[in-house]
Amino acid sequence: MIWYLEIVPRNALIHASANAHREQEAMELGLPGPWSIHETRGLIIEGQISKSSLEGAAIAALLDPVLETGYIHEIMARHNDSELLVQSSDTPVKTQVVHVLPKPGVTDPTGDTALGILKSLGHDIQKVRTVRTYRIQGPAAFLMDLVRRLLANEAVEMSVIGDLGIDHLQALGHYVFKRLEVPILGMTDVELMETSKKGQLSLSIDEMRIIQGHYAAEGRNPSDCELETIAQTWSEHCSHKTLKGVVQKRGRSYRNLLKETIFAATSKLNADWVVSVFADNAGVVSFDDTYDVCFKVETHNHPSAIDPYGGANTGIGGVIRDPMGTGLGARPIANTDVFCVAPPNFPADCLPPGVLHPRRVLKGVVAGVRDYGNRMGIPTVNGAVAFHPDYLANPLVFCGTIGLIPRGMSEKSVASGDLIVAMGGRTGRDGIHGATFSSIELTSDSEIVSSGAVQIGNAITEKMVLDVLMQARDRGLYRAITDCGAGGFSSAVGEMGAELGAIVDLENAPLKYEGLSYTEIWISEAQERMVLAVPPDKWEALRALSESEGVESTVLGTFVDSGRLVLKYHGEVVGDLDMHFLHDGRPKVTRRAESNPVATVEPNYGISHDHTQELMELLSDENIASKEWIIRQYDHEVLAGTVVKPLVGVGADAPSDAAVLWPSHETYRGLVVSCGLQIHAGAVDSYRMAALAIDEAVRNCVSVGADPSRIALLDNFCWGNPERPDNLDRLVEAAEACHDISLAWKTPFISGKDSLYNEFLHDGQSRSIPPTLLISAMGQMADVRQAVTMDFKEAGNEIWVLGYTQAAMGGSVWASHFLNDPAPIPVVDCDLALKIFHKLHEAIVKGWIRSCHDISEGGLAVALAEMAMGGRMGARCSLRDIPCEDSAAIDTVLLFGESPSRFIVEVASDQIENLGELWAELPVGRLGEVVGAGKPGHDRMLIKGLDQSILIHSLVEEIQTVWKRPLDWFPKC
């Protein structure tokens, strides 16, 4: 029997705000109303249970008996579709009922939880799925749009209009085994490419030919499973063929771009505190006598474009597994997230087909990260959001995780005879072709053809795995571990067994539901799975431990010293691959890079500027405006180790430059987490853009107290199609900048990831994202009690500017508002910057700095405004003594320029002399002093220009209002 339990509040007022919020959202998405949308949640339950028993169970466990009640209906099969809505009139209609439920096969954590508790209560239930039911009044002509754009996500959900008609849940069919071969031996080039395309393999003709040659030598055709394994392993996503490939550029040719730029810097530095780089799932550096720390940042762009919630949800879920799968397993202690989206005021009626509105994208990705990170109990401590129209169809989602791992546990090995053990979530049809999907351009059809690549996460499953792993690690129950990411088992087992070989019995994998073919089991990217190499004598202990915590662990096969990856299904060999060919057989990709220089124009500043007005405009640019709405949705204090939080100051609403973590209370040693991102400069000069991003990440880190000689960096390149020579040229230039600056500052890159092909094909036109390089920095400080925050502390203290201002305004937020032509991009002076970082750090350690803030988006004026807002204090400043090049001596440049390596510091009067001596050799100037009216709401920020005329004169309270407004998406209540 199938029952529908609809859960409704006893008092409608309790949920009224949710309905009102949704009606407002409908209007914001350009759906002409008025709408009345009423939502209830429910469960569809299949099993042998009577109505009265179900009533009892509902009160005991499925609903809130104090505030809610439930209605139970039996669901009958529906045999015709006549009730589907006819879209003909735009006059208001009677109430329409729409049910939204997860598509068959899509992970449904709530349904699974309900199933678990119903079984525990002794009921014979087969399956439970969640459902949301909407009762809607509004213009009928827009009902389908409303469902599509707001209520349901067609990538993972289905909507039923009218009665639910279901005769059984989960009808995915039964799988009948048949070994499939792909007859590539006799194929022509055209046929080879057709095979690659049809199978969504994303293999090039060169690669197909090599595969054909390999199998010709073996004298047979590959099985479908073998070909899929090769495609996954060779995908851009897994093998990084562009960055690790040959690049021919005028004047210089690279045999392996990454090795000769970013890796090269790290190896030349050979820092003794670096433990493991570019080898494992995350880069590892030493922390203190007890622990090492590791950090990884991943992107999940294409899935997030189609399903922002699920994409970001599994993005953070996936990157959390990276530290868990690093060495013998690290405990995740902090998350980061960075989003790049189009401006939220984008007109809804101008959206290309298949593209979600940026508001929906941003709300979805924030919710996705929130729900996973919070449930895992990992604080999300640092991040950024960048807005640019070119992210419209291709938003970027970066998620990072830092892990803590006991010293000596950062290495792993696999021995012949070790059991291959899968732990965690079951395998389903989710995420098939994720690895190859992320290596192609999106089109307006992507939503339809690729939704199999979208996944939904279940954070609690992953938390349970983590709980087991940490105990198993400390008891020495396994020898190696990795996570199942892109490519699923095929990548995890393939990588772990690369030096040996493996035999896998695919039928052993626990499945979410019947009907999966052996190939689907092998390449599924179902979430929350880890693969372990377990010595046979440890298996029983691991099995028992898993069982005691309700975690599923299963032996999939054995690692063997054969050099072959043998896949079996119920005894039949369905794949037998040469490990060497799989990992080293891919032909090197050769790509051409050619610069396509963009001419820059020196701005003409004219004569009259209303600088106060310009400041207000910059403060209300989403790139600068407060991100409090996002930050507050993340738990940033769980684990009780966040001692400088992402929001600081009197009202805890000013933006901290970086977070400071105190991971182990045995000492006061701290970790500092920050990032840098420059989205406006890459199209003009990507070398300088990369330098600016690195500078921002490092100065954010140093600003709160990180030791500049202990900063590790991560790179995440998100680029357009690298097969376009100018795109690739920009990539090469950026990689060169990473090399040069990393070397100069002795800040090694320890991990990185690239996501290429971030383009959207529409009407034959390809639109690329801006060249985007996210730099994440993980610094360390000897004593977290030395940390400095950016909020002004005390009236009467002096305000100084440290660093040198250049005339170049290119890439600044000011330029994006007030200039039409690209302006020159500022350069990073590596030697000077390094001196500044070290001397600033020295001053912080001595306790001479009361507050410190780096100068970034919006320049000095915005930085001052933020410090004033943080301290709820004013400032009286003059631009006269700012150290600058002669051509930069222009009020506008000094106020809003974004020259790198600059800081504003607040100094108490008794430290002025000391600091003056320490910084005697540095470009430093007095800006003014902190002022406090002593009356809340009466403090002003006053800035005088070079000729001592007043440029900016505003109430701090007013500045704050303007700065908070754009992204103040808090529900009004």
């Binding site: 954590p109 678990g116 209560l121």
Partner: protein
């Protein structure tokens, strides 16, 4: 005095167990973290502890409503054990999700009665979203052994379902009259408030924490275990180095231990 023993329970999805156990240790107790399954296997071993803690997190995903599944499992097999534990003078502290579990079982606000059933609920914030922010509360300790000597306290809160609802406004009045509403969110002037964001979830009368009629069971939404050193304070960098804020969260733990002496 022998250090009392505190048991910190965890279920799938519990995620504040480590820092809660750490807080008990800092306060002077011996603490252990046990999986719920382990207690189910030997319920009698609870008598070896004087304090039981349900920490924060998302037990069983909180998918069916916060704390609902864990409380259903407690009802199924542990209700008698808990009743006995309280009757013999044991203390129970529920923080955030732990508070939600205690309310869903009925242990709060009514205590370990013969027939345990929920009479209140912690439901969705009025804002409909999870939010982290520090909150200022007034304490009226009454019988609560945890809040002895505290009149005002600031702690971090982080939850999506913290609105304390009773079946009727009269029921809340009764709790007030009984002195069981021991923690209330206050506005900057120090008055209990229903206004967001000083009250992060819209709880009527600003209810942030309640105790049972004996005062030995306390549940609260904010996290005392996240304010056990001065540098947990959100504004510690504004204080002189020699006069950092005192870690008020720790007091709940030391109070509990002192009450057992």
């Amino acid at each position: 005095m022998v250090a009392p023993k505190a048991l910190v329970l965890r279920a799938p999805g519990t995620n504040c167990d480590q820092e809660t156990a750490q807080a008990w240790k800092m306060a002077g107790a011996e603490s252990e973290i046990w999986h719920f399954h382990r207690l189910l296997e030997s319920p009698e071993s609870l008598s070896g502890f004087q304090i039981l803690t349900f920490p924060g997190g998302f037990s069983y995903g909180d998918d069916l409503g916060a704390g609902r599944v864990w409380s259903a499992r407690i009802h199924l097999s542990l209700a008698d054990t808990l009743r006995k534990f309280v009757d013999h003078g044991g203390l129970i502290l529920g923080i955030c999700n732990g508070f939600q579990v205690l309310v869903a079982t009925g242990l709060l606000p009514d205590g370990a009665r013969a027939e345990m059933r929920p009479t209140a609920s912690l439901t969705y914030n009025v804002s409909r979203q999870f939010e982290s922010r520090w909150v200022q509360m007034q304490a009226k300790p009454g019988k609560s052994v945890f809040l002895n000597g505290i009149s005002s306290i600031a702690l971090p809160s982080a939850h999506g379902e913290g609105r304390f609802m009773t079946s009727s406004p009269e029921a809340l009045q009764q709790l007030q009259a009984n002195g069981q509403v021991v923690l209330q969110y206050v506005d900057p002037s120090g008055q209990p408030t229903e206004q967001y964001p000083a009250n992060p979830n819209g709880s009527p009368q600003g209810v942030a924490g309640v105790c049972d009629p004996t005062g030995r069971i306390l549940g609260l939404m904010p996290h005392p275990e996240r304010f056990v050193t001065p540098i947990h304070h959100p504004n510690w960098t504004r204080f002189p180095k020699n006069a950092l804020p005192s870690p008020d969260g720790l007091k709940l733990f030391t109070n509990a231990i002192a009450s057992l002496a």
